[in-house]
C-alpha cells in the first residue's frame, strides 16, 4: 500500500522481471492487432464490448485469491446460479431493467447456497482447493444437465413450450434473452460512429438498433469505418463500483481477516480468527459476484446457451486474471482489468491474425485455446516453483 521510498533510481529490469507476464502479453496483443489487419475502431469497439461483458466475472476471483484459496474454479457454480435465475425471470415474462434486477435478486440465495457448498468442500480439501474447484465445476455441470435436460418438465412441473424441447421436457439448447438484452448496458451508453461523432443514449430507447457487441465479427468488410461502436457506460460504472467495493471490503475487519488467513492459516487460527468461516465467506462472496458477473455477460449476449454458456467462464476468468500479472496468491483490481483487456484482445485478434498469416483462421482459434490453457499452466507452475523454493 505504501510505496517504498528507497526506490529513487528506478530499476527497470526489476520491473520487467516482476511484470514479465503482462509485458509479454501486451507485446503479443500489439503484434496480433497489427497482423489482424483490422482498423483500430473495430478493435477498440470489440474489446470495449468484451471488457464490459467479462470484467465483472474476472473481478469476482480476487477475494478468494487474497484469502489464500487460490484461483476459484468454483465460480462456474455462480454462473450456473445466474443461468437458473435468468431462465426463471424469462419464464415469468419479466423484461427490461426490472427483469434484470429481479434476476440479480433471485440469484443471490442460489449463489450463496452454491458458494457455501463449494466452501465446505474447499475446507475439507485444504491445499488443493484449485483442483477441487475444477472438479466441483465438472461435477456440478453434470447435475446441472441432469436438472435441465431430464428433470425440468418431468419431475419438476414446468410448462413453457417456448423454453422446452419438443419432447415436452428438458430445456432448449438456446434460450432467447431478448427481453433482458442490454437491460443494463442501455441505461446509459454512448455510441460512436466515425464521421458522425458521438451519440449519448439514456434509457433503453432503441431496441432495434444493433450494437457491435452482438454482431459476430464477420471480417474486414463489415468492420470498416461505417459500423458504430457502442460503449455501455452504465455497465462500466457498475464495474467501477465493484472495484471500489472490493477495495472497501479489503479495508474492513473481515478483509483483514481474509488476508491474514490467506497468508498463514495456522497463525490466523492462533490469533483467534475463525479460519474456516472466513474462507467460507470468501468463497460465498466470490460465487455471488460471479453470478452477478454472469448476468452482466448474459444481458449483453442476448442469448443463453443453456448447456455451455457457463462452462468456460471459470477458465476465461482465471486466464484473464493471470494474464494481467496476478498469481495464485496475489491479485489486484488493476490486474483483473488489464488481464481481461489483454485476454480478450487476444481472443478477438488471434483468429484474424491466423487467417492473415496462415490463411487459416482455425490456427488462430486453436492458438487462443492454447494461450488460455497455457497461461494457466504457466502461472500455476511458476507459483508452485517459487513456493517450493521458499520452503
Amino acid at each position: 500500500m505504501n510505496a517504498p521510498a528507497e526506490h529513487r533510481n528506478f530499476d527497470w529490469m526489476a520491473l520487467a522481471r516482476k511484470q514479465a507476464v503482462p509485458i509479454t502479453f501486451v507485446a503479443l496483443c500489439l503484434t496480433l492487432c497489427v497482423m489482424s489487419g483490422q482498423g483500430p475502431a473495430f478493435l477498440a469497439g470489440e474489446v470495449a464490448t468484451r471488457l464490459a461483458r467479462n470484467s465483472f466475472t474476472t473481478l469476482s476471483l480476487i477475494v478468494p485469491v487474497l484469502a489464500g484459496l487460490g484461483l476459484n474454479f468454483g465460480i462456474v457454480l455462480g454462473a450456473m446460479a445466474a443461468q437458473m435465475a435468468i431462465i426463471t425471470v424469462v419464464h415469468w415474462n419479466m423484461a427490461g431493467l426490472s427483469g434484470f434486477l429481479a434476476a440479480a435478486l433471485l440469484v443471490v440465495p442460489i449463489a450463496i447456497a452454491f458458494g457455501w457448498l463449494v466452501g465446505l468442500l474447499f475446507n475439507r480439501a485444504k491445499g488443493r482447493e484449485m483442483v477441487t474447484g475444477l472438479i466441483a465445476g465438472f461435477f456440478a455441470n453434470g447435475l446441472y444437465q441432469l436438472l435441465f435436460l431430464f428433470l425440468v418438465g418431468t419431475l419438476i412441473p414446468f410448462h413453457n413450450p417456448a423454453l422446452l424441447l419438443p419432447e415436452g421436457y428438458g430445456l432448449r439448447n438456446t434460450v432467447n434473452l431478448a427481453p433482458v438484452n442490454y437491460a443494463l448496458d442501455d441505461i446509459l451508453s454512448v455510441t460512436w460512429k466515425s464521421g458522425q461523432g458521438m451519440a449519448w443514449t439514456v434509457g433503453s430507447a432503441d431496441k432495434t438498433q444493433p450494437a457491435t457487441g452482438a454482431v459476430p465479427s464477420t471480417g474486414p468488410e463489415s468492420a470498416g469505418a461505417g459500423s458504430p461502436v457502442k460503449i455501455p457506460i452504465s455497465t462500466f460504472l457498475l464495474i467501477t463500483g465493484l472495484c471500489l467495493g472490493i477495495g472497501w471490503l479489503m479495508a474492513t475487519k473481515l478483509g483483514q481477516d481474509m488476508r491474514a488467513v490467506g497468508q498463514d492459516m495456522h497463525i490466523a487460527e492462533v490469533a483467534g480468527i475463525p479460519v474456516d468461516r472466513t474462507r467460507l465467506i470468501a468463497v460465498v462472496v466470490s460465487t455471488v459476484l460471479a453470478a452477478w458477473g454472469h448476468l452482466v455477460y448474459l444481458q449483453n449476449m442476448g442469448t443463453l446457451n443453456t448447456y455451455s454458456s457457463h462452462e468456460q467462464i471459470g477458465m476465461f476468468g482465471v486466464a484473464s486474471l493471470l494474464v494481467g500479472g496476478a498469481s495464485v496468491s496475489r491479485a489486484t483490481v488493476w490486474q483483473a482489468l488489464l488481464g481481461t483487456l489483454l485476454f480478450h484482445t487476444l481472443f478477438v485478434t488471434s483468429p484474424l491474425a491466423g487467417k492473415t498469416l496462415m490463411g487459416d483462421p482455425q490456427i488462430g482459434e486453436y492458438f487462443r485455446v492454447f494461450v488460455a490453457y497455457g497461461v494457466i499452466a504457466l502461472a500455476l507452475a511458476l507459483h508452485a516453483w517459487k513456493g517450493g523454493h521458499q520452503k
Partner: protein, 529 residues
C-alpha cells in the same frame, strides 16, 4: 496483595502417565520468575494448562487451581487465557510475513470504526456488523508505535515483517503482547534461542522494564546465565515436581544445574565385554562437524567414538544433540571432517554412509524411519535391498525381483528374536505400538549388518516394559556382535544406565564428555553450556 498468578497443586496425567504431580507456582506483579527444568520435566505441560490448550482438555483436563489476582478462574481455551490477561511470547514466531509491523501487532485486535453498511448489518447481527467495520489505520499505527517504544524497538511501523531480521521479529512479538491493554502476565518461552548476544541483552532489559511497569513475567529458558541475570525467583521442575524454589540472590549456576539434573541412578549390572575398548582404536573421529538441522543445529562438534563402546550423546532440546547423528547419516546438510576407521566418510550422502556400514535409527521414527503403510517385512528388508541388494533374486540377466520367500523367512526370524508383537510379517507397521515399531526399526538396522549404529531417542513414545527390552537389545548388539553404538537421548538417566561414556552437547558443540557416574552438577553445567 495476592500474587497476580497463582497455580496450586497442579496435577496432570496423560494416558496414565503422571507428568505433573502437584506443582505450585506463583508470580507477583512486577516480578520475574524463571522456570527451569530438563526436557520432560513438565514445563510445557504446565504452560499448556495455563493457556487452556485444547490438548489438555482433550486428554481429561487437570486437577488443581489457577488464580489470577486472587480470583479463581477456569481457563478452558487460549481465548479465555488471553481474556484473563495472560500473554505468550511464542518460541516460533506467530507473525505474518506479508503484513506490516502495525498489522501484526494488531492482528485480530484491529481498531475499527463503523460505516453505513456495518451499521445496517450490525442492527441485525452485532458480530457480523463488527466484522464489516472499516479498519482505523491511524489509531492502529499510534498504538503500535507506543508498544514498539515500550519494548525499545526502532522500526518503521509500516515495514513489512517478512524482510526484517530475526531479532526484530522477536521484539515485535513482544510488542504485540504488550499492546494488549489487559496484559498482566507475560510468558516468555525460550525467547533468546534465536537472538544474538546483544539482542539477548536487550531482551533482558526489556523484561526488566516491563516488570517495572507492574507486569508479572514468567521466563522459561535453558540459559542459566540469563536466569542469573534477571530472575527475582527461580522455580526448578524435575519429573513433574517442583523440587526447589530459590530467590535470585541466593542461586548460583552450579546449584540450579544440580537441582535440574539430580536423580537417583538405577544401578544396572551390564554384561561384561569379551573384547577391549580403548582410545587407540577409533570407530569414528568427528572434527568440527557443522550440521544445518532446523531446530537442532550443530555448529562445530568434535568427538571421537571408540570402537566397540556404547557412547551416549545428551543435552537440552534445541542445543544440537540430535544434529550430530543426522548429519553423519546424511539426512541434513553437513560439513566438516568425519573419519570412519581412519578413512574419510562422505557427508550429505545417505547411501555412502550406509555403504560404509554406518546405520542410523532416526528419532523421527514414523517420519523418517518407517513406511507406515507397508508391511513389517518390507520395512525390515527394504533398506538392505536398496543399499546392498539383499532379498533380490535374479531371474534373467538384468531382471532381479524381490525374493518374497527369503524376506519373509528373515522377517519371521527377526520378529521372533526381538519379540515384536504383531499378527504376522505382512501386517502394516502403522498398526503396531510405538515399542514394536521401534523394534522393527532395530530389525531394519540389524539387517543392514552395520559395525557402527546411531540410535536417536530409542525409547521415545515407548511404554515402560518395552523400554527396558530395547535398551537390553542395544547392549546385546554391542556385547555379542561387537557393534559400536552411539545413543542420542533426552533422557539422561537412560544414557547413564547403558553407556560407557556420555558426551554432552550444548549450543551446537560438545561441551564435555563425562563418565556415566559423574556428579549431577557436572552434567547440569555441561548441559547449560
Amino acid at each position: 496483595m495476592p500474587p497476580i498468578l497463582e497455580m496450586s497443586a497442579i496435577a496432570k496425567e496423560y494416558y496414565g502417565n503422571r507428568v505433573l504431580k502437584g506443582v505450585d507456582l506463583s508470580v507477583d506483579a512486577g516480578e520475574i520468575v524463571c522456570l527451569v527444568g530438563e526436557n520432560g520435566a513438565g514445563k510445557s505441560t504446565l504452560m499448556n494448562i495455563l493457556f487452556g490448550m485444547p490438548v489438555v482438555h482433550a486428554t481429561g483436563g487437570f486437577s488443581g487451581a489457577v488464580k489470577i489476582a486472587g480470583q479463581r478462574v477456569a481457563i478452558d481455551s487460549p481465548f479465555k487465557a488471553m481474556e484473563c490477561g495472560i500473554g505468550m511470547v511464542h518460541q516460533e514466531f506467530m507473525l505474518l510475513p506479508g503484513f506490516t509491523v502495525t498489522e501484526n501487532i494488531k492482528l485480530n485486535r484491529e481498531l475499527t470504526s463503523s460505516n453505513p453498511l456495518s451499521s445496517v448489518v450490525g442492527a441485525l447481527s452485532p458480530s457480523a456488523g463488527k466484522r464489516l467495520e472499516s479498519l482505523d489505520f491511524d489509531s492502529m499505527t499510534r498504538d503500535a508505535r507506543a508498544a514498539l517504544a515500550r519494548v525499545g524497538l526502532e522500526v518503521e511501523s509500516e515495514a513489512t515483517v517478512g524482510g526484517l531480521p530475526v531479532g526484530h521479529k522477536q521484539f515485535i512479538e513482544i510488542a504485540r503482547e504488550v499492546d494488549r491493554h489487559k496484559a498482566r502476565i507475560l510468558v516468555f518461552d525460550e525467547p533468546s534461542a534465536v537472538l544474538t548476544e546483544s539482542e539477548a541483552d536487550r531482551l533482558l532489559e526489556t523484561m526488566r522494564a516491563l516488570a517495572r511497569d507492574g507486569i508479572g513475567i514468567l521466563f522459561i529458558t535453558h540459559r542459566l546465565d540469563e536466569v542469573m541475570a534477571v530472575a527475582d525467583r527461580i522455580v526448578v521442575l524435575r519429573d513433574g515436581e517442583r523440587v526447589a524454589q530459590l530467590a535470585g540472590s541466593e542461586a548460583s549456576v552450579g546449584r540450579i544445574a544440580e537441582l535440574m539434573v539430580g536423580r537417583k541412578i538405577e544401578k544396572r549390572d551390564l554384561p561384561p565385554r569379551s573384547f577391549s575398548v580403548s582410545d587407540a582404536e577409533l570407530a569414528l573421529d568427528i572434527r568440527d562437524l557443522v550440521v544445518d538441522m532446523p531446530g537442532e543445529p550443530v555448529t562445530g562438534a568434535t568427538l571421537s567414538v571408540r570402537r566397540g563402546e556404547i557412547l551416549g550423546i545428551g543435552g537440552l532440546a534445541g542445543y544440537g544433540k540430535l544434529g550430530i547423528a543426522n548429519g553423519i547419516a546424511g539426512i541434513y546438510p553437513g560439513r566438516g571432517t568425519v573419519l570412519k576407521d581412519g578413512l574419510p566418510l562422505p557427508l550429505n550422502d545417505p547411501a555412502g554412509s550406509l555403504a560404509r556400514r554406518v546405520a542410523f535409527l532416526s528419532e523421527d521414527r514414523r517420519g523418517v524411519g518407517l513406511l507406515l503403510d507397508e508391511s513389517i517385512e518390507l520395512n525390515i528388508g527394504l533398506t538392505s535391498l536398496q543399499v546392498q541388494g539383499k532379498f533380490l533374486r535374479t531371474w534373467l540377466p538384468g531382471l532381479s525381483l524381490l525374493d518374497a520367500a527369503g524376506l519373509r523367512a528373515h522377517a519371521r526370524e527377526m520378529i521372533r528374536w526381538l519379540d515384536v508383537r504383531c499378527v504376522g510379517p505382512e501386517q502394516p507397521v502403522r498398526r503396531l505400538s510405538g515399542g514394536n515399531q521401534q523394534k522393527v526399526c532395530i530389525a531394519k538396522a540389524v539387517t543392514l549388518d552395520p559395525d557402527l549404529l546411531f540410535v536417536s531417542e530409542p525409547t521415545r513414545g515407548v511404554d515402560v516394559g518395552a523400554k527396558q527390552r530395547i535398551l537390553d537389545e542395544l547392549v546385546s548388539l554391542n556385547r555379542d556382535r561387537r557393534m559400536t553404538i552411539v545413543v542420542t537421548s533426552s533422557e539422561l538417566a537412560e544414557l547413564r544406565s547403558v553407556c560407557d561414556r556420555i558426551a554432552i552437547v550444548a549450543r551446537g558443540k560438545v561441551s564435555r564428555v563425562l563418565a556415566p557416574d559423574a556428579a549431577d552438577v557436572d552434567f547440569g553445567l555441561a548441559m547449560a553450556g
